[in-house]
């Protein structure tokens, strides 16, 4: 019954989505406010409610493990802990698509109920675009991926959730990323509406900014969480593999970061109109391209998603319609947009343009690397692209970008003089030189890590320099946000550079009682014994860690899950303020010996702390902009009120 309610709600929502699209499209055509076009806002809101009902139904059938629902039988098992039974609802293709549509619907409802900054025609057009995007996914769900399909007769046992996904980090990772992807769809709809209604000024930028910021925060958190998950759950000791699936989440982030900064220029200075519009389309297209690459199985990835060429074709079709359509609209209309204000190179705009060009270049590098195997395969040769390509080539663009990032926020809008910021420039130069010398003298790290460490230190200092000459209590919240986010970049960069420069690795086969040295620690293998969990059994090693001021026991496990049968390696981590000790239990090596893999990774945790700081900075900026938006509209209302009062007085 619950599943039928869910399906019915989904169909009704799809109908309302069609209504939203049609009435929005009618509203987009002109100024006349016909009865049909008035339906667009209510249609969006009710649609969102129905989608929530549908999604809750899906959560319900997963929570109670209703095995007569095919999706539950294929992806869940009654023996799993409740949290993973529920997260199993979106740990599969159909459920995650429903989640996607639900978030999309919620965004439409939010636009419909909250967006007052733009005129009615713009909002209707944006909602029509939003509805059009959603319609494709509705079709996808209802025609080829019905999450509520029944199984007759019901299955006796569920097949279970991939054990690698039975992890709290990964339970939360997809929803976070989806909020990001879908948030970018709002930016996309706004941009399309801007092209249709020929509005591409500061108002559009201000209306887009909270959405892009929210999406960007989610993407940042999602990528950080995904990277940490890969780090401890896959047991390979690395935190980023330049895998197509990882790149699929990085590319929208890069585009969104560029978009965020160009929106800043458009909102403050009414410049970069065409560029911002294009980035709006690019950002969403990157999330669609990412989804396509991941789901179609067109690229070989370590992340074994359930792939299906038919679904791939469907997504490719949607991609062609939406993104192709938007770029066609861009080609037709963008030329007619007014150019926007001019500025000189040495200005805040100039620095932000540089940031945008570098970010776009990095995006192009990652996109090319991800697609290159596809391209070369079409030409008959097989290659795989890895860190030897990505690391140096992205660095070529990232290093200048980070250098400009140290200086850019100090510049004034429109035009500036070097002499005005001479003092902070000297300070930045001195810190940079000193940190390069210090790193070279004391560590002997490679070229890239050396540059990374020196830049991290410089940026950590430079990110707070905009405070100079200001009263900290009068600094706007959004500026605090940007400084914090830039500081987060420095922290994260320090972690990456330190991990690659100073990690030590030991791969050994040892007997119980043997001692291995790794970093500042001594690791002694104790007993290796079987342990049992709710739906797994495991061999657990006890490794006594001493030295470096520690005396503790690490318990890495080699787990065997029953439903579905699969082995996973559970790393044991010892987190210290100055790094992490990472231990993996491998296979039995014969004669009572066990393979152990131990890493000491100094300051590796900074990578993810930095990610969290970046997201926090985004949150502060979001709050700051929302508050100033509210204040601005209040002032506007007050002025309008006073004018009306004065007019009525004059009339009297």
């Amino acid at each position: 019954m619950i599943a039928e309610i869910g399906l019915a709600a989904l169909w009704l929502a799809a109908g309302l989505c069609l209504l939203q699209f049609i009435s929005g499209a009618i509203g987009a055509r002109g100024d006349e406010q016909g009865p049909v076009s008035a339906l667009v806002r209510p249609a969006a809101i009710v649609q969102a409610l129905l989608l929530v009902v549908s999604f809750v139904c899906l959560l319900w059938v997963f929570a109670v493990t209703d095995l007569s629902v095919a999706l539950v039988a294929a992806n869940s098992h009654a023996d799993k802990p409740l949290v993973y039974r529920i997260s199993g609802a979106w740990g599969n293709h159909e459920g995650s698509m429903l989640l996607w549509v639900t978030i999309l619907g919620l965004c439409s409802a939010l636009i419909a109920s909250l967006e007052r900054r733009m005129d009615a025609r713009f909002v209707k057009t944006a909602l029509a675009a939003q509805g059009f995007v959603a319609l494709g996914f509705f079709a996808f769900l209802l025609l080829s991926s019905n999450p509520f399909a029944r199984l007759n007769p019901p299955a006796e046992f569920g097949a279970g959730l991939n054990p690698l996904l039975q992890d709290i980090g990964l339970a939360l990772h997809p929803p976070t990323l989806y909020v990001g992807y879908v948030g970018l769809s709002v930016a996309f709809s706004f941009v399309v509406a801007g092209l249709v209604t020929r509005q591409a000024g500061p108002e559009l930028a201000r209306a887009m900014r909270p959405w892009v910021l929210a999406a960007w925060i989610s993407l940042t958190l999602g990528i950080a969480a995904g990277s940490y998950w890969a780090y401890y759950e896959l047991g390979w000791g690395g935190w980023w593999f330049w895998d197509p699936v990882e790149n699929a989440s990085l590319m929208p982030w890069l585009a969104a970061t560029a978009l965020l900064h160009s929106i800043g220029v458009l909102a403050a200075r009414d410049a970069l109109r065409t560029w911002t519009i294009m980035l709006g389309v690019v950002a969403f297209s990157m999330s669609m391209v990412g989804t396509f690459l991941v789901r179609s199985g067109i690229l070989t990835s370590v992340h074994a998603f359930a792939v299906d060429p038919e679904r791939g074709a469907f997504i490719l079709g949607l991609l062609t319609i939406y993104i192709g359509g938007a770029f066609a609209l861009f080609a037709l209309r963008a030329g007619a947009l007014a150019e926007g204000k001019r500025f000189v190179a040495l200005s805040r705009e100039g620095a932000l343009v540089f940031n945008n060009v570098m970010l776009s270049a990095i995006l192009a590098v990652v996109l090319l690397g991800t697609l290159y195997p596809l391209l070369s395969e079409a030409l008959g040769t097989r290659v795989s692209i890895g860190p030897p390509y990505y690391n140096p080539v992205t660095a070529v663009f990232a290093v200048p970008m980070l250098l400009v990032l140290a200086v850019g926020p100090l510049l004034r809008w429109r035009r500036d003089r070097i002499s005005r910021i001479a003092a902070p420039l000297v300070l930045i130069g001195v810190v940079l030189a000193a940190s390069v010398i210090a790193v070279v003298a004391f560590s002997g790290a490679g070229v890239l890590p050396t540059i990374g460490l020196a830049l991290a230190v410089t940026l950590a200092v430079a990110s707070w320099l905009p405070l100079m000459g200001r009263n900290p209590r009068r600094v706007p919240l959004a500026l605090w946000g940007s400084m914090l986010a830039h500081f987060g970049v420095a922290v994260s960069l320090a972690g990456m550079a330190s991990e690659s420069a100073f990690s030590t690795e030991r791969l050994v086969a040892v007997r119980s009682g043997d001692t291995v040295e790794v970093g500042p620690f001594k690791a002694t293998l104790g007993a290796v014994e079987p342990v049992a969990g709710p739906n797994w059994t495991a061999l657990e090693a006890r490794i006594a860690i001493t030295g470096g001021g520690v005396d503790t026991v690490l318990r890495p496990q080699s787990r065997t899950f029953t439903d579905p049968p699969q082995n996973t390696s559970e790393a044991a981590l010892l987190t210290r303020w100055n790094g992490q000790l990472y231990a993996i239990l491998g296979d039995a090596a014969g004669e009572g010996r066990w393979q152990l893999r131990l890493w000491w990774k100094p300051f590796v945790t900074l990578i993810w702390y930095g990610g969290v700081l970046i997201a926090l900075g985004g949150l502060l900026a979001l709050l700051g902009h929302l508050r100033s938006g509210v204040r601005r509209s209040r002032i506007g209302e007050a002025i309008a009120q006073r004018r009306a009062d004065r007019e009525s007085e004059a009339a009297a």
Binding site: F330, A334, A589, G590
Partner: protein, 175 residues
């Protein structure tokens, strides 16, 4: 000029769609084949089965005799399953050179003791250098090397009973 620039994103996007659509219609291989097939063995110089055994080099393969090169390890369970098939091939007169990945002399001796020794010689590849150079992505894998030292064929995974004839035929072909 400006108009042309505005069409650029659409053109690039069209290129991507075309490429993706083309690749979607192509059959997908299940295994990643080595690109080394048809190329000479990568140069190597590895220690032998024990500390005293002579070292093995890539030059030894260019003596006119085709051989099998079997990438394996004592810690690999499918390699145990493969042992009888390798024995059968050895009995049919196929010389097999083993490359033991990340292994130790005692473990190798024990393994051969327990599961039989089909090898004419074994090289120890302690850091998987030869394996990587061969483009082999796992253990076990078996390559057919012709008398000039050129890689002719790659079998991925353990050799099952019904693969024996096929591999024997490939070895014959390499003569």
């Amino acid at each position: 000029m400006k108009r042309l620039w505005l069409i650029l994103p659409l053109a690039l996007f069209g290129l991507f769609i075309g490429l993706a659509a083309y690749q979607m219609t192509q059959p997908k291989d299940e295994f990643v084949r080595s690109t080394m097939i048809g190329k000479p063995l990568p140069a190597f110089d590895l220690p032998g089965e024990t500390e005293d055994a002579p070292r093995l080099t890539s030059q030894m393969f260019a003596d006119g005799k085709p051989r099998l090169l079997n990438v394996w390890a004592t810690w690999c369970v499918p390699c145990i399953a493969e042992a009888p098939q390798l024995d059968a091939l050895a009995k049919r007169g196929v010389p097999i050179v083993g490359v033991a990945i990340r292994d130790e002399p005692e473990a190798i001796a024990q393994f051969l003791d327990q599961y039989g020794n089909p090898y004419t010689a074994i090289a120890r590849d302690d850091i998987a250098e030869l394996q990587l150079a061969l483009g082999s992505s796992g253990v076990p894998e078996t390559f057919v090397i012709d008398g000039k030292g050129v890689i002719r064929y790659q079998h991925i995974g353990d050799i099952r009973a019904d693969n024996i004839d096929e591999i024997y035929a490939e070895w014959e072909k390499a003569k």
